[in-house]
């Protein structure tokens, strides 16, 4: 198959959506780079599918502009926008064969049978479906149906590929395989891809950039590395990472961050109330540090996750490499490396230590 047509940049300019009087997406602006793989990540009901449908043209925008490759498309029909979409439940036409499913868009576009067949076979080859072209969707496995859906999307050589939670109907093993294939496919085809999901693993592994959406608002838009290591808000901090980042309410006195009972957790020049965030795997077990009681232990083979209780009664997660030192103990003492401490404003949820702790 031909290398795809030139990928297009998608610019969202104060795009808004409301159903009746219920605002779903307040004005939202972002630029998705040409050829980039952008994952829109958020909990269910955050408006991510609505956003995708608006880019596709399946859902009219309430206000604002959408530009694809510089052209304003918000009033265009879906077929004119150069987008193709892969749906969560595949949405294959049950009465058509695989070949007919893949070629339907070409048929509607009035492309001659010979060229159609050639392009269908090309697309089928890309997703390794070559020998299933005469089957019906009902005779295929979930993974194969997903491939048909992808072939149907790429056969038109779209400028933009849209994915609406395409992997959520697959079992865990298949999902991993499809993730890898999607990643390869993206590199080969090069179309700008927008991928909606609520699964952070998909977001972290597939994305060039992740757009985290919460109640229609962008919480953070950055590379997976930025998202994980420098979460811009409490929401992102709590949403990304498993086990989740520990979030502890502290009071800063200019020299240290202290628990309400006065125990110092880490040194900091911050003054006033704040929420301290630290990832479970960044906590160090130290000879002399913050005393904690182990209340629960989860041995995952590669590492162990401990739930420990601090002196103040708060429980936090500690992720440790499997070693002999914590196995038998029910007490340990923790050290919070200053470089890995994130600070958030308790009221606004915004990150406070912007320049601090830029550590891999």
């Amino acid at each position: 198959m031909q290398p795809a047509s030139i990928a297009a940049e998608i610019a969202l300019d104060a795009v808004e959506k409301s159903f009746g009087n219920t605002p779903v997406i307040p004005p939202l602006s972002a630029t998705l780079g040409a050829g980039e793989f952008t994952v829109v990540l958020g909990p269910s009901g955050c408006g991510k599918s609505t956003l995708l449908n608006m880019i596709a043209g399946l859902e009219p925008v309430s206000a604002g502009r959408i530009r694809i490759d510089g052209q304003e498309v918000q009033d265009w029909e879906p077929k004119d926008r150069g987008c193709a979409m892969v749906f969560q439940n595949y949405a294959l036409y049950p009465h058509m064969t695989v070949a007919e499913n893949i070629g339907y868009a070409l048929k509607v576009a009035g492309i001659a049978r010979a060229e159609r067949q050639q392009r269908v076979e090309g697309a089928a080859r890309v997703v390794q479906l070559g020998d299933l072209l005469d089957r019906r969707p009902g005779q295929l496995s979930g993974g194969q149906r997903q491939r048909v859906a992808i072939a149907r999307a790429i056969v038109r050589e779209p400028r933009v590929l849209l994915f609406d939670e395409p992997l959520s109907n697959l079992d865990a093993k298949l999902r991993h395989g499809m993730r890898m294939e999607l990643s390869h496919l993206h590199r080969r085809i090069g179309a700008t891809s927008v991928f909606v999901t609520h699964d952070q693993v998909e977001a972290m592994t597939l994305a060039d950039k992740v757009l985290i959406l919460n109640e229609g608002r962008i919480e953070q838009f950055g590379t997976p590395h930025e998202i994980y290591h420098f979460p811009a808000s409490l929401f992102v901090a709590g949403f990304i990472g498993a086990p989740a980042m520990n979030l502890i309410e502290v009071e800063g006195d200019g020299t240290a961050l202290r628990l309400p009972d006065g125990t110092a957790l880490a040194g900091s020049a911050h003054r006033g109330r704040a929420v301290l965030g630290i990832r479970p795997e960044k906590l160090r077990i130290a000879e002399d540090g913050l005393p904690a009681t182990i209340v629960y232990r989860e041995d995952l083979g590669s590492h162990a996750v401990l739930v420990v209780r601090l002196g103040s009664g708060q429980e936090i997660n500690v992720s440790t490499p499997l070693g002999g030192d914590t196995v038998a103990a029910d007490q340990l003492s923790l050290h919070l490396p200053e470089a890995h401490v994130h600070l958030f404003d308790p009221a606004s949820g915004q990150r406070l230590n912007v320049t601090q702790g830029q550590v891999r």
Binding site: A91, H95, A105, V108
Partner: protein, 305 residues
């Protein structure tokens, strides 16, 4: 509740067997009587021993009654009812499910309400309208004073008269007016993945293309089921054809069948001929059910593979 008790199984079987016998008994009587000659019937009355006069009886019915012509009427009317109903129901459901219509819910409610107002209930008004389908127009013109204005200006009193009584259209139209088919299609469309119509839009197919390429092929079983149900409904309806067709040439077979028994109470009815007529009237719907049984079940269960 699922139980696997043997005694329960046996009881259920007995009850079913009794039910089957109860249903079959009149059918057996019909079948057997249709094979007997009038003479033997006069001597022996109803009997369970089949005779050999079926072909002769068919000949009698075919040559001496209006039933052949009326069978044709029935076929025409029932086919009209079934075809038009399928078309209307499909397009209505398409509009309700796939378009954002402002008062779609209310409209669908009104369609369903037709099921609460069967023809028998609005019989007299239906007859009045059929006797002059311009009646509502006249009433509206009267109501808005247009009749009066025209009469004052031109001296002409508008009063349009178009009767559809004793026509095929008049026979079929009132039988069409119920929402079952719309309901059936709507429920079916809602079992289809919602993304299907989105996928078609992404593929560049407009609403009509989607209807033609995707929805109609997927709805085949439903069409078959609805067609058969509506055909049977049109075929077996009695009261409306009885009053809407005033000449024997326009009556349907079911009405004609009832007319086979003599008007004179003193005369002994030619039961073998009547039973033969009943068989002839039943053959077409029976054959239809037998042929389409699989589709009917598939079209009514609303399940996906």
């Amino acid at each position: 509740m699922i139980e696997n008790t043997k005694s329960l199984d046996r009881t259920a079987n007995v009850i079913l067997a009794v039910g089957v016998l109860y249903i079959l008994f009149p059918l057996v009587i019909t079948l057997v009587t249709a094979t007997q000659s009038f003479e033997s019937f006069l001597q022996n009355g109803f009997s369970f021993i089949p005779g050999t006069y079926l072909l002769e009886n068919i000949q009698i019915v075919w040559e001496t009654t209006q039933l052949p012509r009326q069978l044709l009427n029935s076929i025409i009317v029932a086919t009209m009812v079934a075809l038009i109903k399928c078309g209307i129901a499909f397009t209505t459901a398409f509009a309700i499910v796939y378009f954002r219509i402002r008062y779609g819910g209310i409209l669908f409610g009104m369609v369903l309400v037709t099921n609460l107002m069967p023809l028998d209930l609005r019989f007299i008004t239906t007859y009045q309208v059929a006797a002059n389908i311009m009646m509502p127009v006249n009433a509206l013109l009267d109501f808005f004073g247009i009749t009066y204005i025209v009469q004052t200006l031109t001296g002409y009193r508008m009063n349009f008269q178009v009767s559809v009584l004793n026509t095929y259209f008049g026979l079929a139209a009132p039988l069409l007016a119920n929402g079952t088919g719309t309901f059936l299609f709507r429920q079916y469309f809602r079992t289809l993945p919602a993304d299907l119509s989105k996928a078609a839009r992404m593929d560049g197919a407009g609403p009509m293309r989607f209807l033609w390429d995707i929805l109609i092929p997927l709805s085949r079983a439903n069409f078959a089921a609805l067609f058969v149900l509506m055909f049977l409904g049109g075929w077996t309806s009695y009261l409306w054809p009885l009053v809407a067709a005033s000449t024997p040439e326009m009556q349907t077979a079911v009405v004609g069948l009832a007319r086979l028994s003599p008007g004179d109470p003193g005369q002994i009815p030619h039961y073998p001929a009547i039973m033969t007529g009943a068989l002839m009237v039943s053959v077409i719907p029976l054959a239809m059910i037998a042929l389409m049984q699989r589709h009917i079940v598939r079209g009514l269960t609303l399940t996906e593979k």
